[in-house]
Symmetry: C2
Subunit: 342 residues, 2 copies
């Protein structure tokens, strides 16, 4: 089987920044894109002004992107579906879509997250929600990709992981563009986890900056933090080299060094001595890393993995531990080998 | 055997920024540090004002650090020697030191580099220069460590690699401080190479910034660039996880995101359209990455490793290829898997 992107009808489910950016990439590949939009005002703005003013302002969307509020209409008859909702509503949205999803469809998931309590990654949530699909039709896409830069066609590279690499290459052929380089990978667990857990380290890196520590400290936290998250991902079946790739290290570098993300800003304020409760009061949304840190520490407990940096971030967030004290405890751990893997 | 740092006479050979910073770390461990200083004025300033005004200004050096211009005196009778000269004079300096180096001495090398033509790493240069030492006494130290931050006692983590991990732990015990966390590793090749080849990618990252590309591009270049340097290091016997550690990814993150390094600045100016010859005229010294890029491309050729990013940096430096064209060619390569290792 070969999928020709030219004229291919595809669905993008979710019109946040990343979903909208992926819709523009697919349209440039020649696809006819039905974009599912939850909010009425966002849908109308795209329809009338060709712009997602709320989530991706300043980008003119191609005519091939049709905003639609009816989920059944969007997914019906599509052989290529991109999932791009927030991960905590993934099950709900695709539960509703299920009766309309073709059993031969490919689903490429751009959502990131670890489900609370079940600790499931997005691929698992989707395969449980769409049982009519063969598992190898469910793939995940992740990597260092600020949506605004993708939409501006700035060179970007991401990883697309699927259990069957021949099928992953089909999906790669649909999405790849000269400015959007897609690498395939067989490591679904590694790619799904890498994109989710980086926010824990963004909080840690922000915390060190807030304390006024230096570049050495930030680089050490990022590197040693990735090593502990790699141990965790390996326990879940990932390849360690995936975490050293675009969806792990790449996305981590982006998050910890790009414009101040919400997670890094939160860490920064905590480092300056403010308390989480104080920082969260009056905010409508919670930085994603706050939830993810809890999942990561649970996951480390279940898999008996030593995760000192995540544990300290957890103590900072949930036990009011001062960042300075957390740094002190990290630096006073017994001597270790860099090659110890547990 | 166990080495107690308290009262231990040690030698630090080379009073550049990093050597001087390591001398302060060793002094805080309780060692008596003889610091070999090449320049007379630097030696006098340390002696009279306790400050290395040229290479590490603003740091008061402890009384336990003695600046000495006589190399034989510095190394004689020492069981612990730190090598911290520029790598291109390593053979010459240790060739002169050889008759005075105790055959039981440990040598920890903080110098980084790949020798032109021979493509030897620093550990090989030292073992050839000091044949009286068992190979397992020669270790390398690398990681994200701006000297000025080490000297200010900002938390720093580095890797110390030696072929015999028990001996590496001895050296770890001598150097480790609450603000200077030392991890051991058996992977000498990986640690020695990681610290050397990062400057090629610093030029690439700077080039992308100079073109006005985004954070996505920089993160992709760093990540895919590290992957190709990892392939190279693995061909030389390194473990891939070492390159994902402090001496590889850690140092790379520091170089590509910290204050503008000389290599990144060079890349930035090239990205803005200036020519190498123009940038080098009127400078006394050449950014290290210019030489290293040539070594890396030679190494890739010898080992038959595909190194597209290094090759493009080489073409930018030595064939006047515009950075924009190099980026274009990188983004138009055929589709790949992230897991291809050659």
């Amino acid at each position: 089987m070969s999928m020709d992107p030219r004229g291919l009808p595809v669905a993008v489910v979710g019109a946040g920044a990343f979903g909208t950016a992926l819709a523009t990439v697919l349209a440039e590949s020649g696809c006819i894109v039905d974009l599912w939009v939850w909010e009425e005002d966002v849908c109308r703005a795209i329809e009338e002004e060709r712009e997602n003013k709320v989530y991706l302002p300043g980008v003119v969307l191609p005519a091939e992107v049709r905003p639609i509020r009816d989920l059944a209409e969007v997914v019906s008859g599509k052989r290529f579906i991109v999932a791009a909702t927030p991960s905590h509503v993934l099950r709900e949205v695709f539960g509703r879509a299920r009766p309309h999803v073709d059993e031969r469809a490919f689903v490429v998931c751009g959502s990131k997250g670890i489900e609370a309590e079940t600790l499931a990654t997005v691929d698992l949530m989707l395969s449980e929600t769409l049982p009519q699909l063969p598992r190898e039709h469910i793939m995940v896409l992740s990597g260092p990709s600020f949506a605004a830069e993708v939409a501006r066609r700035l060179p970007t590279a991401v990883t697309l992981a699927g259990p069957n690499e021949a099928l992953a290459r089909e999906a790669q052929a649909v999405m790849m563009q000269p400015y959007f380089r897609v690498y395939t990978s067989p490591d679904v667990a590694g790619v799904a986890l890498g994109g989710s857990i980086k926010n824990v380290l963004a909080i840690a890196a922000g915390g060190a900056d807030g304390l006024g520590l230096g570049h050495n400290t930030r680089a050490a936290l990022i590197t040693r933090g990735l090593r502990e998250l790699t141990r965790l991902a390996v326990a879940r079946g990932a390849s360690p080299m995936t975490l050293a790739g675009l969806s792990g290290m790449g996305d981590l570098v982006l998050t910890c060094t790009g414009e101040l993300s919400r997670n890094r800003t939160l860490g920064f304020e905590l480092g300056r001595g403010r308390k989480l409760t104080e920082l969260l009061s009056g905010r409508r949304t919670v930085a994603e890393g706050v939830r993810t840190t809890r999942s990561v520490v649970q996951l480390a407990g279940r898999e008996s993995i030593d995760a000192p940096i995540s544990r300290e971030v957890h103590a900072i967030l949930y036990e009011d531990k001062p960042v300075r004290e957390a740094m002190h405890d990290l630096m006073h751990r017994p001597p270790r080998s860099e090659h110890e893997f547990r």
